[in-house]
């Protein structure tokens, strides 16, 4: 498009993304949204006003230079667009798929009502997919600095931190307890939302940067964090282990067979391939009628997985309304299209026993919304004498997670009251050289927020290690007579001779 773009000259309607037909996709694990073609991407890129002072960039937890990458798409410089995203985010194909853009970049886009915002997420995915298809990788020349960084957890926080530390020249090792890397991207998010090939490609990119992945390693138990620093020669450590300790329902009957956490369902199905049982050995409880409790992204994933496993009726039980639901708007929309039944303002009070220790149904109570609570959302209150029962043979709870206790059990790191790791504003923990970020610090959040935390911790770690952040402003003036612009301070350290 030549000339200046204005709100009147841009294509008015947001370019829709092709999707698998709801009827068909409810029966398979193939990806739901098919992605933009080149033409579609170019058309959508034309809708960006390329604001000189964009609102979307601060709206992004990792501050991707959004107008710049979109400008490159319009100029058909896709590789350039990928490099622009790559400056802030190594996982374009992942984030384009799983970020809640409507509450981040797209939520503050100046193209707004009555128009729909620029489909930034879809454009990011277009670029990320193109990079995978064309096997592009940002492999800058990296000068090794001889410093070693250990990262605990290979999920989004760990991956983002690993990328930044590797680019800074550190020798990075990522430890993962499962037999495959990727964390929640691998065990949690199902194939139809994030195909395994995308995760593999992103991990391969990290490996090209020199990052080493060590699976089957439970840090804390196989070796401790103090051991990593004192004995194993790591100069800094990042903890990105995730929250991962599912909150239980705490209602009668919650230990009946057929009642399981969304984490268990999703891990069995995604990581252990229970959807292909018995060709794969791990089973998953199959129900005719399934109730999923909760309405976050994990709940949406659980609902849609159950549908694909062959459940006839899949119900979503949530005590508030659709407005308060924390899931991505698109996921709720997709779930509805596929035939998930939503029961808003409904709360379970008991799981019913069939007499043989299996779940046969749920007793629920209707709710109404009262005054706003601490989270700013209106508090749901049960309506008296509104209890009712309905049949289901599998109950999945997706009502959040608590802090995983392993790191706390095996180190002296300072934790908060609820067991999450305490950090300062740079994400440094109470132990020198040890940083933490993601769900294990904040409690359950999104993939991109975890990645943002990983990057923030990386900045802190670079400062701690005496590595100058190439992005940071160069400090002017002098300190003890040394011109700060001239010097790149390297931390003085003893190199153990037994390396």
């Amino acid at each position: 498009m030549a000339g200046k773009r204005t709100i009147r000259t841009i294509p008015q309607a947001r370019t829709p993304m092709r999707e698998q037909d709801p009827q068909a996709r409810a029966k398979n694990f193939k990806e739901v949204a098919c992605g933009y073609s080149v033409e579609e991407a170019l058309r959508e890129a034309d809708r960006c006003l390329l604001c000189p002072d964009p609102a979307c960039v601060p709206g992004c937890p990792v501050n991707i230079n959004i107008p710049e990458f979109i400008r490159r798409i319009s100029a058909r410089d896709y590789r350039g667009a990928y490099d622009v995203i790559g400056e802030s985010n190594l996982l374009a194909a992942v984030c384009g798929r799983v970020c809640p853009q409507e509450s981040q970049c797209e939520g503050v886009c100046v193209v707004r009502e009555p128009l729909e915002p620029v489909a930034i997420g879809r454009l990011e995915r277009f670029v990320g997919d193109k990079a995978i298809a064309e096997r592009w990788a940002s492999t800058p020349y990296i000068e090794p600095n001889g410093l070693r960084v250990g990262i605990i957890g290979s999920g989004p926080a760990g991956m983002a931190c690993a990328a930044d530390m590797a680019k800074a020249g550190c020798e990075v090792t990522v430890y993962e307890a499962f037999h495959q890397p990727g964390g929640v991207l691998r065990y949690g998010i199902p194939d139809f939302r994030l195909p395994n090939e995308v995760i593999d490609a992103e991990i391969a990119n990290l490996e090209k940067l020199g990052v080493r992945f060590e699976c089957d390693t439970l840090v804390g138990r196989l070796f401790t964090i103090p051991q990593m620093i004192d004995e194993m020669g790591f100069d800094a450590v990042f903890i990105g282990t995730g929250a991962g300790y599912p909150q239980l329902l705490g209602i009668p009957g919650d230990s009946l067979n057929g009642v399981l956490s969304a984490n268990e369902l999703l891990t069995r199905c995604n990581l252990m391939r229970a959807k292909d049982f018995p060709a794969y050995d791990t089973p998953v409880p199959l129900g005719r009628s399934v109730a999923v409790i909760g309405s976050g992204n994990t709940a949406m994933d659980a609902l849609r997985v159950c549908l694909r496993l062959g459940a006839q009726n899949v119900h979503c039980i949530y005590r508030r309304t659709r407005t308060e639901s924390p899931a991505r708007a698109e996921e709720i929309h997709h779930a509805e299209e596929e035939g998930i039944r939503f029961h808003w303002l409904t709360n379970p009070v008991a799981v019913l026993d069939d007499g043989h220790g299996n779940a046969r149904g749920l007793r629920c109570v209707r709710m109404e919304l009262g005054e706003p609570d601490d989270s700013g959302r209106r508090r749901p209150i049960p309506i008296a004498a509104s209890e009712f029962e309905f049949e289901c043979d599998v109950v999945v709870f997706a009502i959040g997670t608590n802090a995983n206790p392993i790191i706390g059990q095996t180190s002296k790191l300072r934790l908060d009251r609820r067991g999450y790791i305490q950090t300062d504003e740079n994400l440094a923990t109470s132990m020198a050289g040890v940083y933490a970020g993601g769900d294990i610090v904040t409690g359950a959040a999104t993939v991109i927020e975890a990645m943002g935390a990983g990057r923030k911790a990386a900045r802190g770690m670079k400062a701690y290690l005496g590595l100058r952040d190439p992005d940071a402003a160069v400090p002017a003036g002098s300190l003890f007579g040394i011109d700060l612009r001239e010097r790149n301070f390297a931390r003085v350290r003893l190199v153990p001779s037994s390396r």
Partner: protein, 327 residues
């Protein structure tokens, strides 16, 4: 990244020794120097033998920091454990071996301790017996097996126990009767027993706990519920302990036997019984056909490509919960 071609040479964890104690019970010694150093009594590992396999928890039966190996004793009762019995030979590798997991057993300052192992539970109670002995306790071992043919590790226990009571259901070795009878004998012989550690099938552990409850003797048990990740993430291994729900993988696996709700534990262990039978049946059939079942010649891709069967035929199997648990 982890590479694996189905448990053959592709895994990372080499099996360096194997011994078969009976038709069902076998011992694997696996090289993992770091784990051998880190392991403590009462901890467990999760094993995955090949890419299509499931993750199964196994309590560590022994570990040797000098040799750099850990020891697992396994009973072939389900699909995975039978498959491992066939394929896990010296020189082959496990795809995945992660651990040591769980909180190590608290080796208390008890002076007189009875360490009870039933069936496969004999193996995991060994490190605890040894640790109590090293801590200066007078250790009485009570080992229970169905019959003489199944007895293993008697010598190993004699080395760390001050007294050993061997029980078999049919009296073909040691005294006749279950381990509970052995505990009664021990309590009669030694009136000052401070602590009992019992590992075995849930029914056995419950019986032990009930036996010691009137005497108010501290009784620790090691539960082994169904697990997936072993890191606290899935909640599948939750058990009722007193008023609380605890996760065996990160809050256990050792709990106070007087507080564990064994009914709940046994009920939850039956969750996948039908699926387990199905997997087992499929596997036995594939073995009969030869081909994929032959050692070293498994064709998992072909197996994966075959359409899943819809009908589950009744297949009578030994109840896996009678024998499999406690290991």
């Amino acid at each position: 990244m982890t590479a694996g071609d189905g448990g053959g040479a592709g895994g990372k964890f080499e099996i360096v020794a194997r011994e078969d104690y009976s038709d069902l019970t076998y011992m694997l010694e696996v090289r993992h120097p770091m784990m051998a150093r880190a392991a403590r009594p009462g901890q467990f590992v999760i094993v995955m033998s090949h890419e299509h396999g499931e993750r199964i928890p196994l309590t560590l039966a022994d570990f040797d920091a000098q040799k750099g190996t850990i020891t697992l004793v396994i009973q072939a009762v389900g699909k995975t454990t039978r498959e491992m019995q066939r394929h896990c030979q010296v020189g082959t590798r496990l795809l995945s071996l992660v651990g040591p997991m769980g909180i190590p057993s608290a080796v208390s300052k008890a002076k007189r301790v009875v360490c009870v192992g039933g069936g496969l539970g004999v193996a995991p109670v060994f490190p605890q017996a040894r640790a109590f002995k090293q801590a200066g306790a007078y250790v009485i071992g009570v080992l229970g097996f169905r019959d003489k043919k199944l007895v293993f590790w008697e010598d190993k226990f004699r080395k760390v126990c001050d007294d050993l009571i061997l029980c078999t259901d049919d009296g073909s070795a040691g005294m006749k009767g279950m381990v509970t009878k052995g505990i009664e004998v021990a309590m009669k012989g030694y009136r000052d027993v401070d602590e009992v550690v019992a590992i075995g099938p849930p029914v056995m552990m419950r019986a032990c706990a009930e036996l010691t409850r009137p005497h108010r003797i501290k009784t620790m048990v090691s539960v082994n519920p169904i697990m997936v990740d072993g890191t606290g993430m899935c909640g599948g291994c939750r058990v009722k302990v007193g008023e609380q729900i605890r996760f065996a993988c990160v809050d256990g696996p050792d709990f106070d036997g007087h507080l564990v709700d064994f009914e709940d534990l046994m009920g939850r262990l039956r969750r996948y019984a039908a699926d387990e039978n199905k997997a087992m049946q499929r596997w036995t059939e594939s073995c009969r056909m030869g081909g994929p079942g032959e050692p070293g010649a498994r064709d998992w891709k072909a197996l994966a490509a075959t359409p899943p069967e819809s009908a589950i035929d009744e297949l009578v199997l030994p109840d896996p919960f009678d024998d499999a648990q406690g290991g």
